[in-house]
Amino acid sequence: MRDKLEALGNQTLIDIEAAMDAAAIEQIRLRVFGKKGALSEVLKGLGQVSALERPQIGAFANTWKERLEEGLASRGQICEERDLDKRLAAEAVDVTAPARRLHPGSLHILTQTTRRIAAILGRLGFESASGPEIETEYFNFEAVNIPADHPARQMHDTFFIKPGHVLRTHTSSVQMRVLREKKPPIRIFAAGAVYRCEADATHSPLFHQIEGLFVDKGVRMSDLKGVLGELLSELFGTVKFRMRPSYFPFVEPGAEVDIECFKCRGVGHCQLCRSSGWIEVLGCGMVHPFLLTSAGVTDVTGFALGLGVERMAMLLHEVNDIRHMFQGDMRFLQLFRFRGY
């Protein structure tokens, strides 16, 4: 019995030392300590051992059992480490190889510019409004004080869709719609596409405008000047600007707004401002009384301003030809990666 235990113990110790992975260790454990394992087989013979010898043999068997379990545990740990090392080696990749990169994208600079301006106007309390792009002649012209024989009607080269309907030539067409729908105080901006029958390096048959309208009791021209100051300084930084009296049928007094040329600061030969020192950026003025009375709003005054998004984008991003905006050339679009406005 003692010999048998001794033989099993020694053989198992050799097997344990030879085991190379956790699976082999587990196999040995089952073979030796399992229900029908080798140890149980040997200990079955304990019955035939005399009662006198039995405790000693029992103790001897326990000693072997402990030795073997210890051996299994320590070898088992080594094997587990080896297994993990193997797995880690197998799973390793070349981390310098390229990532699975998605394509980048960007917002068009017209969208970026529109959002910049909308955000500024939004902070000043202006809410977004809109109107149709195929507009009635009435809302596009008559409603904003441009009757059929008005000289200003010729300033707009209009696309006609059907009798009485045109592609809107300006976002000012939204003014009367809002004046009729809402009650003062009205503080809105309307952004969108407008259409004129012309095409060259500075004109496109489709372009975009943003119109601001503010109508309330006691609105003064100085309020317009204040809003312009905010808008222009947020867009162009601290910049000098001026309001030059001008004529738009839907405002009176009307003015064009120039900013000091940020390229030349008014000195020397400059292509951007044609050496005038000033860059025209938008048109504005006090809402013409015709609009207010025909919308049926009384006892209020207001101001309106309108700007070209393409012109702003071209100034802000130094784009030299308006046609770049509409060609979808990836080389152009990639220049203006997304900025979250």
Binding site: L102, H103, S106, P289, G328
Partner: protein, 722 residues
Amino acid sequence: MRYSWNWLCELVDVGSIHPEEAADRLTRRGLEVESITYAGAGLEDVVTARILEKVRHPDSDRLHLCQVDDGASVRSIVCGAQNMKVGDVVPLARAGAILPGGMQIQESTIRGYRSMGMLCSRQELGLLGDDGVGLWILGEDQAIGVGVALMLYRDDWILDIASPANRADCLSHLGIARELASHLRCDVALARVPAMPTEGLDVHVTLPIRGCALALFEDLSFCEVPSWVLARLEILGLKPRSNIEAVSLYVMLECGQPLSLYAAEDTVFELNGVEPTIVTDDTKRVIAEAIDRRIKPQERTEAAIRFERGTIPFAQVWALGRFQELVGLWSGKHVQALKGYVLAPSMKREPIAFQVATITEFLGLKVPLTGPVLKEYFERLGFLCTLEGESILVTPPWYRMDVTHFQDCAEEIFRVVGFEAVANTLPQPCYRHHRSAPVIEQVQNMMVALGFYETCTLAFCSHELLSLYGVDGVPVLNPLSEEHAVLSSDMVPLLVKQLLMNVNHHFGQSSPQVRLFEVRRIFTAEGEYEELAFVAYGTQYADALEMRPIDFFDIKHVMNEVLGLLHKSQHYGAEAPSYGHPGLSATFEGGAVGAIHPRILKTLKWKRVGQVWYGRVRLPAHVEEPVAHFVQWSEFPSIERDFSFMVPKGFVSERLVQAALALPYVVKCRIFDMYQREEEASLAVRVTFCDQTRSLQDKDIEASVAQFIQVSQSVLQLQLRD
């Protein structure tokens, strides 16, 4: 419109101010001076000089050595011309001159002799009428040392002024002069014209006009105009065909009223818009006509520009009187029209009344304007003005048809005090309800995150392109060109066009990657809608170890993301739109996604391998963000069962998924394998069963499983695999 500085100076005493300074002041008053050019450009250093001596150059057959006197000094000039003699006065370009043709004159040595300038021909001075004879001989009587620009009446500055469309009065030298005068606080030298007869002519007016004046002259054939008048008209861009036409043009530029001249046959005159007969210097009996109207012109002549803006009522009689006066003045004779005709509305203008303080309030001025100050400002502008306590009554002058309201008066004051006088105030803050970002912005951001570049198309396209795609649109009645004939109801054709242009031209040898999208208004017969459209070509990843081309399920993912954002159903039908690849297209309510039909790409001369992908979806004006509600999940384990079927080609797998989801205890059904063969495909789905209240046992789901198999076999005609 071009204006002569000298002419303005004749009308108003500008003192010592330079044209640049006047231009700045006019611009600040709303009369934008776009450019100032010197009329005698290139002639600045060319003066008249007398030839004192002329000898043959010892080393040349053709050259002469001349001594010339330019009034300041005597210079030696080597000259190649032959036609001059001693005593002639000729133009001398001094060293430093840059002639109109760009030729630079320098002191030089020609075959050993110094030449301190150049004697010039007409051609070298940029003038016509040179028949190649040589120097321009100015005669012996011409004074020497006179600038040629001055001699040619070109010592003048041309101001190009863009005046506002409502200022008809500013399309004349008189109008600009009035503006300058009010700014400089001086008077305009306005000619008092002799009266003309107002009756005698029998005129039948059949044109829609506001007013007119006509005058019959018995004999104007003697009419002559001085050369300075012709020079002045020429630098302003006008070339009269006869002397009396020159006078009529001069009157128009002076007061803004166009005049028409007719050869008169009898005393009955039809005013019907027929083109005037050409009046030459031989025409004796002439009718001069001035009409007051506003019409859309067919052409861009100087007269048409004025009629477009509308002439000034009451200017007609003055213009004819001035015409009569100038013919007489320049011809040195007394000229008087024989008969006339005048049709004019009342000249009375209604006064505009308002409170003194309202101007300051309305403009938001830094310093309030008092009544007397306002009165002075208005009077300087030619307005009649009465102060009555705190109220003020202003009457605009007859030539200011644009002033009718209080706001117009406020604008006049704004022009006088300038933008600097206006305070800088901000409207009261206003707290408005902030919605979440509008749908369009969310969609744009999503597309950027999905790797698309936003583009902008022009909305217009040709009929031809739309019929190729089988798409309709809204035609434009007056298109820019055939290429801009229709507003498309679908942006896909326009985006594919941009994609093709990129692929064909902008990538050279490298493999093209184009992913474009646009959100814009599209036009249909029913109305206009906001729509998103996108196109893509290239690989799914910008960079990866395994670069594979975009496939249908990549592009479907893009559409699913957008539909998810819009809270719209992500169920697709297998129908293709008119331009879609029939096997690689899916449609859903308000949109479609897939690959462009290869036949269309072939017509568009597409030469690459691989599909061009598209997607489009109509965007709602608002998306109500649904409020998510709590739902108790099951605490009990679920059971999963896998099923595998053989399905015929063209089977829509979503039907199987829907069938599974309709059964008891089924909470999920997922397609996890799909294998296409020639005629059929194998499809494997994993069905998850679960219950809220207890752990399911196999026997609980037996009925569901049996029903699933039954439905798939008998209703969907599928074959269950082992």
